[in-house]
Symmetry: D3
Subunit: 118 residues, 6 copies
């Protein structure tokens, strides 16, 4: 069976993260560690943090980062309507230059939903 | 009495927005209008939307946009601890290049609190 | 027959735009609408607007946006010499970081010309 | 008499350009030279090139670059309606994050017009 | 035998550069020329210049530019430990949004090393 | 005696850093800590790291970050010729949009030299 874009993304990400951490650079290791810490429950809840992460990734136009946070939003049961409201903010702030990334985000979100059905 | 950075920002913003809308360019007028609509209560609540707006402004490193959303967060009674958690996400995603904007954001947030006391 | 990069781009773009508009998010719908309005003949003519759109897309380094505006420029019979003068401005303003996008833009422009011959 | 923002910009720009060229770095000198060449009449006319330069500067959110090209547009008798149509394209492509730069651009354009009357 | 990512990159780059230079646009030709000049031995040595070029490409998140400078670093016998220290600076300055580019850079660096062994 | 731009920058920076660290946000504290670690002597020497930091700050167009790294370069006795070679790389990669930041960097570098004489 062919791998879909969600699986491809997750596999490559896991594989390369392992190599990066294996290189044993202290600054990079600690940066990765901080990244995990940052999205944990605090005074701001986890769902809001993931929405923020997704919107920031979108205005900065990083498809892989958008994918990562969309995956988290999906796990946290953010609804499609909510995801589109966050997309709307990101596209308004970031402008029409963001639209190609919106297209790919919508495709990824659909794939997340379809994988679920399997 | 000397104007502080909050008052200065608000005055200049109001003054120039009036000129922009007065120029009667349909695309700009509708863009401004969309901007108001976008942050209204929907499936995502207003506080989350303002936090998202603030974080996106910070990673895109726009001091004036950060100020605007900080003002809104203050009105909506977001706490200092919460604001700093959003700052942390933005600075981690955007990197240390964001830190000078963090400095100015912290100064602005303090001024918002001090104005309150007046 | 194999699809070329122009056809691939147009198909994916049409397909995803339909999904985005189908999601019925008011802000996104109006943003898409504004996008159409903005490039219409006004005090600035359509060709100039498309050149501006293309140059802005290039300095912001969005391949898909460059492709879209190159397609429009081609329909409007902008010449290759003119397109390269706009490329030159964009690469000078945006710097050598833009060059990889220039490469892909040149490939796309060639494909537009070759499709014509079919 | 107090200097206004147009005069201040021009003075500082001239002063620092002189120092930069005086440092005798060959790459920088040739880059400055290219910058002059790039906006000269060619297959694309000078007014279009300045509009492109202004729009690119705006989406990249560089106030000084916007000012420079606005000055050129003013000399070339671009009308206020035309300037606002270019502003509209830049703000739509670049998003609401561009608005603070639009405010400062509008202020600068007004000052250019007022200096004229002196 | 299948082409790997290093060979693919080099082939496409060479091919498109030829077309760009063939278009005979004076500004672009001189910009390409400057690009060659800029990284030549001067008061700053060639290795440092390539490290700077690589780090700048990484914070600006251009995979192709990172690849180009990684290729040069490899030829100049920069060690893996050194490359990772430069990666660390770029990822700290540019933030976690740079991480997906780090993944692709690490993959490219490995391929450079494997090609060597052939 | 009037404060100059170097002193102003250092004072504001120190003052605001204190407030940021005082807010006791763990992610921000660790990010600041990482920032210090990252530029320490390693397989890449301190001068090269500061040059990289400066160039990255310049292509990302952050005046305050450029200032910080220029200050460090000055302490490390990087020469004016070397600083200009790094400026040249950054302006070529980042394009003419970087020039206004180059102007301010040159002014800052001069002030660093003048303060020395005091």
């Amino acid at each position: 069976m062919e791998k879909n874009i969600v699986e491809e993304f997750n596999t490559y990400r896991a594989q390369m993260n392992e190599k990066i951490l294996g290189a044993d650079n202290k600054v990079l290791k600690r940066l990765f560690n901080l990244d995990t810490n940052c999205y944990q429950e605090g005074q701001v809840d986890v769902i809001t943090k993931e929405m923020i992460g997704m919107a920031c990734s979108m205005v900065l136009r990083c498809d892989d980062c958008v994918r990562y946070h969309l995956g988290k939003c999906y796990e946290l049961e953010v609804t499609t309507e909510q995801v589109f409201e966050v997309f709307a903010i990101a596209n308004l702030i970031g402008g029409t230059i963001v639209i190609p990334h919106l297209r790919r985000a919508v495709e990824y979100w659909e794939t997340l939903q379809q994988n679920q059905g399997k």
